[in-house]
Symmetry: C2
Subunit: 409 residues, 2 copies
């Protein structure tokens, strides 16, 4: 994260726009989901502009409430920030964006290892995204296909026409990074399994020892997402279901992820916390108590907020044990994530179902490795849309907001 | 099965070549696996020609021992018969061939229903194969993609450029037929699930009631198969693992197959039994006691032979109950399938491992719905190659065979 860029472009270094005292500054931040809350596909949700205006200064030029945008979308955060700015008429900074893959920035240990990267090719492609995260030794599925021409064998139209040699100079793969759902799943599934079973040398016989395989980092567990079809479409979670079950069927063992990244994983909320606290500090509002997470999907947004809350409580208990020397640290520590479910996206209950319990999701579409109880998908609040959600937050926080914007509602 | 064709081309109608009495006729038949037993890829296994010669008349022109070739391969049986004839220098008739999909010929109830057919496009394609089996109302995955352009959504390069309408005349799909592993698994998996969840109208919201979904017929459960790479490649079974687990994850229920077809399913052995008994009758050798199944894969060939044996025993017990009126039927009924594992294909034990128990397979690569115990993959005999296997059978059956051929060994 480059906070200098954030400060400079937002003119916060001149000192005039910072809160004069910490008493005046907001004790809360906002974490927006994007799809189903602010946009549906490429179309803004009607209340989204007004909602964002409520968080900005009188002139509508910059955020005065610490705000991040957290999506399980894939791609460069610069592209996402530009899209949001364009569609919603406010200036969103790339450093306010948490894409599904963003927390991989923190996995420095893998940045200088030979990583097999699997993912989509749109929006600049997986290689561009992996580079932007700090990965330096990137190998694609296509690189492996070319190096070992006898591995990808489902599509007979792609079998080599003549005898070809393996590339014996091809580096041994040291980790597998799964950025998102690729095209031609059979190719990616086969080559990823080959790499895991052979400890990174997929033209050799299987060498994997029981209970050990190369590190696997996976981004975005969404099983399904809502596109234009009447039923939701496959997300990266669907690809991971295939990979996990093929690995289990072939080896008899469980695939173990080194990290699962993206909502609703803890690491994504940790990263978002760090980001929103840095933004708050840069605004002169360093003491946040509550982050409000506004989302439309009980299984990612609400589940994740509740998971994050448990994590914050655990951290608080840990700090309480060392109370004396960390009293100050405790004061500043974000203490609660409060979740708000909106009705403009995935969550669309029957008209008669109108209480918070109804938002519980009874079929577990979450990832295999994440604990599941219906309670963990229960939001703290349910509101019609993102503007109502912001107004609700202001009411709870007794925050004056902008009178003009509130009056227009 | 067109036995007239078999008889005519083999000249058995002239009466001269039939066994003069049933005492002279063989009481056994042979069921060959092809890959790893007779051919490896397109190359004949050295002992294969000699082995087949042992089963033919003195002039090497026609089979005198009832023989069928049973493969989990996909395609037209005429093509497979021509390949075998060409590679092995004997005339193999298409009616001696059991391809993985062949038993679908017997599923007449589905031949006049609108079937979604998923499978490979090589060797004449799935449509050609489905037609050859008797299916009349065939819809492909590509047909569904074109009729409903918003369903196949993983590959953004294939999203429609402009707004397009669904084809409202497209017929409601009544059954799903899975012939083999397709290309672009994400497309096939998504569209098959859409069809199942919507009772055949995939542009509508999900309507599937708990515990009911459209009939699913699946051909060829092989998880993996041995190609040129040092580790085995995905077969159709790997695709089915993905489909079953996505169905389970999305609906919370088990996918139920109306039929699983191809080795090692019972229906394939039933079909092969019918075929070999018809061939035996046409040879004037109608009373078979034993079918010898020669294969290289404990999990398909040997497992299947042992399953078939259990089925024959059950049938025998059932007939014993009605002994009086069916005594003659019992005499003629095939009573045993004996399995022989050869070392020229999948099964390649360490040199020191040299007893029949070692052939047991300890990781279950078989299909989810088939019962698994290590014992069921144990063969009755293990031989080096297919010629040794035939000689072993002749010894057990005290069959004179052809002296010349036996002497040449």
């Amino acid at each position: 994260m480059n906070m200098d860029y954030y400060r400079n472009t937002h003119g916060l270094d001149d000192g005039n726009n910072n809160y004069k005292s910490q008493d005046e500054s907001p004790k809360f931040g906002i974490m927006f989901d994007i799809d189903g809350v602010l946009l549906r596909g490429k179309t803004p949700i009607p209340q989204a502009r007004d909602a964002l205006q409520l968080l900005m200064d009188e002139r509508g030029e910059r955020f005065v409430v610490p705000t991040v945008f957290c999506t399980n979308g894939f791609g460069l955060k610069e592209v996402k920030a530009a899209t949001l700015s364009d569609k919603l008429g406010v200036e969103v900074n790339p450093d306010q964006i948490v894409m599904s893959q963003s927390p991989l920035e923190m996995f420095h240990d893998y940045h200088d290892k030979w990583c097999l990267v699997s993912g989509p090719d749109h929006d600049g492609g997986s290689v561009k995204v992996a580079k932007s995260l700090g990965f330096q030794k990137i190998l694609t599925i296509e690189d492996v296909r070319k190096a070992y021409p006898y591995l990808d064998w489902v599509d007979r139209a792609r079998w080599p026409q003549e005898t070809v040699d393996d590339d014996h100079e091809f580096p041994a793969i040291e980790a597998v990074v799964l950025l998102g759902e690729p095209v031609r799943w059979e190719t990616n599934l086969q080559l990823i399994l080959d790499v895991l079973l052979t400890d990174g040398k997929p033209n050799r016989k299987a060498t994997m020892k029981k209970g050990t395989h190369l590190p696997v980092l996976a981004v975005n567990m969404d099983l399904l997402w809502m596109a234009k079809a009447p039923t939701p479409r496959f997300g990266h979670g669907a690809f991971l279901v295939c990979l996990e079950n093929l690995f289990k069927k072939i080896t008899g063992e469980d695939l173990e992820y080194t990290a699962l990244i993206g909502k609703p994983s803890e690491v994504t909320y940790e990263y978002s916390q760090k980001l929103i606290e840095e933004i708050a500090t840069s605004l002169g509002a360093p003491h946040l108590n509550t982050v409000y997470a506004i989302g439309d999907n009980p299984l990612t947004d609400i589940y994740g907020a509740n998971m994050f809350n448990k994590f914050l409580e655990k951290k608080k208990r840990e700090l309480a044990h060392k109370k004396e020397d960390v009293e100050k640290q405790m004061e500043c520590q974000l203490s609660r994530c409060s979740s708000i479910l909106v009705r403009t996206g995935v969550y669309q209950p029957e008209p008669e179902a109108e209480d918070s319990d109804e938002a519980e999701t009874l079929v577990d579409h979450g990832h295999r490795d994440l604990p599941y109880t219906p309670e963990i998908t229960r939001p703290d609040h349910i509101e019609d849309d993102v503007k109502c959600a912001i107004e609700k937050i202001f009411k709870i926080e007794k925050w004056p907001g902008k009178k003009c914007a509130l009056q227009s509602s």
